[in-house]
């Protein structure tokens, strides 16, 4: 925490990972303004700390080994909060003195803080699309969406994870039986938070635009859309509770201390090749055998049983790439020219919105050799239009993309998805 003397600044303190051994703050309530009040041992608290109390509080927390982090440096000047964003660069010095913090500012920031907490909305219109959500919130969103749109949207359970969480897929359908379909998944790698957030946005977008957007309406007249928003729920929960950078599943195997398999190396396409690792501690560990992970097996079974999926799009972050098969071999796919041209059009549509630049090409030439990857398997199953996206950004924030970029990312990606979906509909096979 920094001091900027003479301004009456009001810094924040938050306690995100309280140690149950040190449950109490000894300051009296009158000295501290709790924006998220103490609820019990083990729960975090948010405190607005008046400047004179700052140093004593810090000293107390540190002396007792209570972890804390500063969420807003100076409440009266921060524009930040749940919607993230970089904020303006600090360039000005002292000089301005405000005798007290405007209450309206404090109220707004408190509300933004609370929005970051677990407050479930009552409708998908009230859902905050420009924030990151946890698993419970996303699963609640899905149920709301289905309840609000029973004629278009249904929820399917396609399996269970290692830790026995349900794997849900939203089906968007105007009718028919086993229509040709588009599959979209997000969140197969749990640290790639902008993908789940985009998936939620796509779901709402489909519902909103199904009548008024001609392109989408035509697609839904002939085809179904399947959307799996949280493809790796165990990993996703782990990124919220323990390790924000967790990528893999959470499967455990005797003989190793290390946990998890890379779900994008576990598919039966070039499985075991040098574009994956045999080391259980590695981020690209392929697993003991193909489809060993229930999260992968669930999709494999779904695709095989459905039998009529015509486009398969798996969404990752980051790097700003649109990729087609193969990753496990340099041999080009037979449909390479068509996929390359389609990728080019999709990327052009994406860029048209905010100027975001994407590269495109086969996996192996554009990023690296990857064996046992999702879209290599789906392509080999006969799903010609198999693509992988790597969303924003290119490394400035990487996995920790500010929430203010969720909606722009989803919006531009949606344009690319529509190009792929439209092309699929016009070239059904």
């Amino acid at each position: 925490m920094m001091s900027r003397g003479g301004r009456g600044e009001v810094p924040w303190v938050d306690n995100p990972r309280p140690d149950p051994a040190h449950p109490h703050l000894i300051f009296s309530p009158s000295q501290l303004d709790f924006w998220l009040a103490p609820r019990g041992t083990g729960d975090p608290v948010d405190v607005r700390v008046p400047f004179p109390s700052l140093q004593p509080l810090k000293a107390h927390l540190e002396a007792n080994g209570i972890p804390y982090s500063i969420m807003i440096e100076d409440v009266q000047v921060s524009g930040g909060g749940g919607s993230g964003g970089r904020g303006s660069r600090h360039g000005g010095g002292g000089g301005l003195t405000l005798p007290r913090v405007p209450q309206a500012l404090v109220d707004r920031e408190q509300m933004q803080m609370l929005r970051r907490r677990r407050v479930l909305p009552l409708s998908t219109d009230a859902f905050d699309y420009s924030s990151y959500h946890n698993l419970d919130e996303i699963y609640a969103f899905m149920d709301l969406l289905v309840a609000e749109n029973p004629n278009l949207v249904s929820k399917l359970e396609i399996g269970r994870t290692t830790e026995n969480r349900p794997l849900y897929v939203l089906k968007f359908s105007k009718g028919g039986t086993n229509r040709p379909a588009i599959w979209i998944d997000t969140g197969i790698h749990s640290r790639e938070w902008v993908t789940h957030a985009s998936g939620v946005w796509f779901a709402k977008k489909i519902v909103q635009d199904q009548e008024k957007d001609e392109g989408l309406a035509s697609i839904l007249d002939q085809m179904d859309i399947f959307l799996e928003i949280v493809t790796n729920p165990d990993g996703f929960v782990f990124t919220h509770t323990t390790n924000r950078m967790w990528r893999k599943t959470r499967s455990k195997r005797s003989g190793s201390l290390c946990v998890g398999v890379d779900p994008n190396r576990n598919w039966d396409a070039g499985f075991g090749g040098s574009g994956s690792s045999s080391n259980p501690c590695s981020e690209t560990y392929r697993g003991p055998y193909a489809d060993s992970e229930p999260e992968v097996e669930a999709i494999v079974n779904f695709v095989k049983n459905h039998g009529n999926i015509k486009a398969f799009i798996s969404i990752h972050s980051y790097s700003q790439l649109l990729l087609y098969p193969y990753g496990y071999t340099t041999t080009p796919v037979p449909d390479k020219e068509e996929l390359h041209q389609l990728a080019k059009e999709a990327v052009a549509a994406l860029s048209s919105l905010y100027g975001t630049t994407y590269k495109y090409g086969s996996i192996i030439s554009t990023i690296y050799q990857a064996s046992g990857g999702t879209i290599d398997w789906t392509y080999n199953q006969g799903i010609k239009y198999s693509f992988t996206f790597e969303l924003r950004d290119t490394g400035r924030y990487g996995f920790l993309l500010p929430a203010s970029q969720i909606v722009p990312t989803a919006q531009e990606t949606w344009l690319a998805l529509k190009v792929i979906m439209r092309h699929t509909r016009e070239h059904l096979y």
Binding site: G84, R116, Y368
Partner: protein, 272 residues
């Protein structure tokens, strides 16, 4: 610091820990064109004397992409400061030479932006030479910036004076946080980590790696009696090829006139 070309060799021999399984270098596409159908090595002269001619590569190919990321990291170290964070915007053109018994040399043209001002861009060229023989040697990097980088003296001096006048040492964690937030007060600390990590990235890069600074887990100021600012950082590097998240410690010295120096750095054990 001076503009223009800078030739810097590796400072000292470092034992570089491998970031993960060494993957074979994907073959290059055939010379010319854009994403050709059959990748292959560029044609070699039949009587090779010295380096092969430079073969054009599509900028979307992963190999020049890694070289460009390395060049950008190197520039971030040499030119970065608390007020300036050079970052790669786009790779425009790439060529590669295979030099017998020496290594692979990439000739790059790219655009840099500033992490503070995305619209502030500058064109650059660079040559990156990955040494074949000694895998522990850092690549050689030379670069030229066309035009001037934005002057950040005012922001740098403001930061310098602010930190120097702190009664208690600065301490912070998780920058950015899980949601991508960076408090405005912490932006210069982050930019300094960006610059210093450029050095660590340069020292540890190979043709099979692409490093990015993922997060500052912890930073603590170390008070000094001399004019320098000193910070002890624990950062996370993301290695894009192996996908590993690698904790790294670095001790960073900075002064507005003397730039960024990493006096000590070491790879830390990873979580299981």
């Amino acid at each position: 610091m001076l503009g223009g070309a800078t030739v810097v060799r590796r400072r000292r021999r470092r034992r570089r820990a491998a970031p993960g399984p060494l993957l074979p270098t994907p073959p290059l596409p055939a010379a010319g064109g854009d994403s050709p159908a059959v990748p292959g090595r560029p044609p070699r002269p039949s009587m090779s004397q010295g380096p092969s001619p430079a073969a054009e590569l599509p900028p979307s190919h992963c190999l020049p992409g890694r070289a460009a990321a390395l060049a950008a990291a190197f520039i971030a170290w040499r030119r970065g400061s608390p007020g300036r964070g050079p970052a790669l915007r786009a790779l425009s053109r790439a060529r590669r030479q295979d030099i017998d018994d020496v290594g692979h040399k990439y000739h790059l043209e790219f655009v840099l932006e500033d992490i503070f001002e995305k619209d502030s861009t500058v064109n650059c060229t660079a040559e990156v030479l990955y040494h074949l023989g000694n895998k522990n040697a850092a690549p050689d990097v030379q670069f030229t910036i066309e035009g001037e980088l934005k002057n950040t003296d005012e922001a740098d001096n403001l930061f310098y004076n602010r930190i120097k006048s702190l009664k208690n040492e600065l301490v912070a964690e998780n920058v950015p946080d899980s949601y991508g937030n960076v408090p405005p007060e912490m932006e210069p600390i982050r930019a300094l980590a960006w610059a210093a990590s450029g050095y660590v990235i340069w020292q540890n890069s190979t043709e099979n790696t692409k490093y990015q600074l993922a997060q500052i887990k912890h930073v603590k100021q170390v008070k000094r009696s001399d004019e320098y600012l000193e910070f002890d950082y624990k950062i996370l590097l993301h290695e894009n090829v192996s996908q590993e998240i690698i904790p790294w410690q670095m001790t960073v010295l900075w002064h507005p006139q003397h730039g960024t120096e990493v006096t000590q750095n070491s790879r830390q054990p990873q979580h299981v």
